[in-house]
């Protein structure tokens, strides 16, 4: 019973924070609200018994990506309120588009009876041991490719960040 309440609490926090990302005028508030949303999602991972995923999520998103965002905001000193607003008609249309997508998704899945496997070993798959076995046996090639992608991204970021390249 408790986990149900936790689920609804975390969901409402995440959705509130996600909405505030869009509503906030200052970029730094958006960044911090998004961090809050990420923490709520980390809570969801723990609820799903995927502790490893939750911790990695916090390390990667809250610890690296959002700090990078925060860093950019500070470095560029973006403190201007209400900058470059779009036309109201465009905003209105955008909200309608987003709402329609939401309605379509919910309408599609509402009556969908998803098959759920009730299995006592369910809580085991989120543990490091099991994930590691799957990752390094079945998905070794994608894993290596990911590291190459990372390396390329790092080199690219450094190249782009340099002021003048000969």
């Amino acid at each position: 019973m408790l986990s149900k309440y936790i689920f609804y609490f975390l969901s409402s926090v995440a959705i509130y924070a996600a909405l505030m990302v869009l509503i906030s005028k200052k970029p730094i508030h958006s960044v911090l609200y998004l961090t809050l949303a990420f923490f709520a999602i980390a809570g969801h991972y723990i609820l799903l018994n995927a502790q490893f995923l939750a911790v990695v999520h916090i390390i990667v998103y809250a610890g690296a990506i959002m700090v990078l965002f925060l860093f950019t905001v500070m470095l560029l000193n973006l403190n201007i309120e209400g900058e470059f607003p779009k036309k109201n008609i465009i905003k209105f249309a955008a909200v309608i588009v987003g709402g329609l997508i939401l309605i379509t998704l919910i309408g599609t899945f509402r009556t969908y009876d998803l098959e759920i496997i009730k299995n006592p070993t369910l809580n085991q798959i989120g543990l490091v041991k099991n994930l590691g076995k799957v990752l390094f046996k079945e998905y070794l090639l994608p894993f290596e490719l990911c590291s190459i992608l990372f390396l390329a991204a790092m080199v690219g970021a450094v190249m782009l960040g340099k002021k003048d390249i000969q």
Binding site: S30, L76, I101, L105, V134, Y139, C146
Partner: protein
């Protein structure tokens, strides 16, 4: 921890789908209504995260670790995307002194 398993079963999987759809829709709206490139990036992150959570939920409910592995790959791609994206953003800021993406509607600078 047998409690945790039973607890998990009490939340219908559909609730996860609705929640993730809502997050995804908010992300789409964010990309459409904002002109601040930074906030657009953040909306993209939000969409990636909603997909992540849904993958993890399916993985837990279907007892298949592959879903969680894919979450890792998405995280890697997201981190690479942000590193490059923010570097580009800083470059744009240096040449236009603004992070308004509408300032980039000229091909020649």
């Amino acid at each position: 921890m047998p409690d945790a398993v039973q607890n998990l079963q009490m939340i219908p999987l559909n609730d996860y789908i609705f929640f993730c759809s809502a997050l995804f829709a908010i992300g789409i709206i964010g990309v459409l209504i904002k002109r601040n490139a930074l906030v657009i990036f953040m909306s993209v992150e939000l969409m990636l995260n909603s997909a992540n959570l849904l993958l993890a939920a399916f993985s837990a409910y279907r007892n298949d670790p592959a879903g969680q592995i894919f979450v890792f790959f998405i995280m890697v791609v997201a981190a690479a995307e942000v590193a490059i994206g923010l570097a580009l953003l800083v470059m744009i800021y240096r040449s236009t002194h603004s992070i308004d993406i509408n300032a980039l509607n000229k091909l020649k600078w």
